[in-house]
Amino acid sequence: MTNSIAEIEDSACIFITGSNTSACHPLIARRVFRAKEKGAKLIVADPRNIQLSRFADVAVTQRLGSDVAMLNGMMHIILKNGWQAQSYIEERTEEFEEFKAAVESYTPDKVEQIAGIAQNDLEKMAELYATNSPASILYAMGITQHTTGVDNVKSICNLAMLCGNVGVKSGGVNPLRGQNNVQGACDMGGLPNVFPAYQPVTVEANNEKFAKAWGKALPGKIGYTITDMVRAMIDGKLKALYVVGENPMLSDPDQHHLVKALEKLDLLICQDIFFTETAEKADVVFAAVSVAEKDGTYTNTERRCMKVNKAIDPIENTLNDWEIISKLSTAMGYEMNYESPEQIFDELTTVTPSYGGMTYERLGLDGLQWPCPNADHPGTQFLHKDQFTRGKGLFHAVEYLDPAEMPDEEYPYWLTTGRMFAHYHTGTMTRVSPHLDTEQKTGYVEINPEDAKTLGVNDGETVRLSTRRGETEIPARVSNKVVPGLLFVPFHFAESPANILTNSAFDPIAKIPEYKVCAVKIEKAA
């Protein structure tokens, strides 16, 4: 997030797209409800009728994967009416003209044809966003999990800059992180192209800096992303995989393809707190500890690095992840003799400039928001205040592209996937939690009452879903949350895995798979 969670309350307009905030980030939705009650305008654009849609000043259900068209359409209208923040654009941004030319053709009529958004709704969205300042945009995986994920994000940034909403309190471009430490994993360099704090591995100075800090020559070539890894496994180039605290068997697209890849490995190491579907396939399983048994830090979606405190001793014969890695490393011939997470933290802050001013003592219970470069720095509530990190904000000319797969005669329905409120990710932790299990015990597919009638399917009846990748049987939930022609499957449930169906086509830059769109066939199970 460029801005902070608490700031949302004081936005004059909140535009939510591709985020079922009240189900997936309830304590952020709280701020939205409060902003709305204080008088903020609320725009919700989501292919499903989500809880927040009921509270919106304008709510639309855009066709899956049509976000660039929708956003370009809004910006077309804003420009046509002269609602853009002209002086902000002139002072703080560049390449505006190219961008302006690109959105020229996205007339409300064209957008209606692509996205299925009524023209007057689009007009209202544009007007509300452009004429109520500061305006905040919240989005999540509904924007990013597309073959055009990067284009979608660029378009959102275009919109925010067009109305002067970046670098202002209660405005901003605010992606809501799905997992508790996605932000931290990225910040810490858990990525194939960058060291901690996004320092590229290809820049020689960075490489030298880390080589010196770690006392070892380091590779300068960009590595494989997770998506590349799967392909390299199939091609026989990747022989060993060490999976720490993830369950790709359920979280990766096109499960059949992944099983084939994992079976080709010579060594699969899995480190987890539960015996996951991925662990079942492993050669070695390391038993790690849970959140309550460890010290350390998480960095939340608003860049707030916070201290996690050990409440109980590790259960039975389990070890902290940092202890396992240290043991492994030492046995490999590279000594790691850390005595505590604090010692590791003190090391990482010396090579991670944005965390440079943090210590456990300073974090306290409130945490600190990066960048926090030195010991006197109070942390940063919102980014890009006086200028963008790169200097000038860059407009991008973005054209709409179709999703990789669209419904046809054989697979006539749209399928999208996501979370439901009582479960988390692959369900590893939440499905063993009695109260959460009580709330939702099985997977399900949401189907519109009209479609259910056509197919003769009643609520709770089992249906078969099939795509070009695979098929699964799953109970139907007849619901107005989905529009006719659209189906929704949550991905938490191993026995009816959404990702046996999803398309592994991915964004060429971010390598993020298109979980949010594919074509599917539905029939009553025999």
């Binding site: 009240s22 709280r30 409800f33 204080k38 809880q51 409130d366 709330e439 399900y444 939930r477």
Partner: protein, 265 residues
């Protein structure tokens, strides 16, 4: 007060004392014991409000003989009374030290304004139920308007169950809110208004108007007002003010064998 608590622990009048301590700038509930007597110097009252009595109930369930001391405001005391009535705590094992408290309908005077809800935002005033409103004012809305206002509030519900989970007098092992025959599971908002009304019904003669539910509600639903209304009914019918004494409640009095008359079926 710190000295008194120290004395109690030293003389084993209580085995533990539940109060508050400031940890890295935050007032947090803390369990003081004989083993760490010096910690009692750090005991604070402040305006922190956690349900110490719920912690006591949890501890007593596993250590029934333990003598527990705790800081109580008036609302904590009312909760304790209800917990005594319902056999969740034994009064003989509880020692209390009273501190300033919050205003409540069930108490005549209050001198701590910690619980005062913030001023309602404009939209909430217009279409919802202001958290500052009392039962009489809410009843002045016409029936249709009132229904719509409550439904607005309920629609915001995120089904966190926080109202139940934080409630000092919610101790049932099985909860009707999770009874699938009453309320369907698996979606937000939950089925409304049934979710909130089922809970409201169970609050009659149980709710001690501490306001912790409303304080824990992520979407500011006016829960306190709702439960006040149910308690008003109990008060009108049975002349019973919940939590004001540790005597039996009308609900278990009616169950006395001797009061039952045999009637032909």
């Amino acid at each position: 007060m710190q000295e008194q608590i120290r004395e109690w622990l030293e003389q084993e009048k209580v085995d533990i004392f539940l109060g508050y301590k400031k940890i890295q700038g935050h007032p947090l509930p803390h369990c003081f014991t004989k083993d760490n007597l010096d910690e009692t110097d750090d005991l604070i009252v402040g305006n922190a409000r956690y349900s110490l009595e719920k912690m006591a109930t949890k501890i007593a369930a596993e250590h029934p003989e333990l003598k527990i001391g705790l800081l109580v405001r008036d609302c904590n005391q009312r909760a304790l009374n209800v917990l005594y009535v319902w056999n969740q705590l034994r009064p003989d094992n509880i020692e209390t030290i009273s501190v300033n408290c919050c205003p409540s309908k069930l108490k005549e005077h209050g001198d701590c304004s910690y619980l005062e809800p913030e001023k309602a935002a404009p939209l909430k005033m217009m279409i919802g139920i202001d958290n500052n409103m009392d039962v009489e004012a809410a009843e002045e809305f016409g029936q249709e308007d009132r229904y719509k206002r409550w439904m607005y509030e309920f629609q915001k519900c995120l089904k966190c169950y926080g109202c139940r989970d934080i409630c000092p007098v919610c101790f049932c092992k099985e909860c009707s809110l999770e009874h699938t025959d009453l309320i369907a599971t698996g979606s937000v908002p939950p089925e409304i208004p049934i979710f909130h009304l089922v809970r409201a019904v169970h609050m009659g003669g149980r709710c001690i108007d501490c306001g912790l539910c409303e304080d824990a509600c992520p979407v500011d639903i006016s829960l306190r007002l709702l439960y006040r209304k149910v308690n008003d009914i109990v008060s009108d019918v049975f002349d019973y003010k919940t939590g004001t004494s540790a005597d039996q409640s009308p609900f278990n009095m009616l169950g006395e064998e001797v009061t039952l008359e045999l009637k032909p079926i």
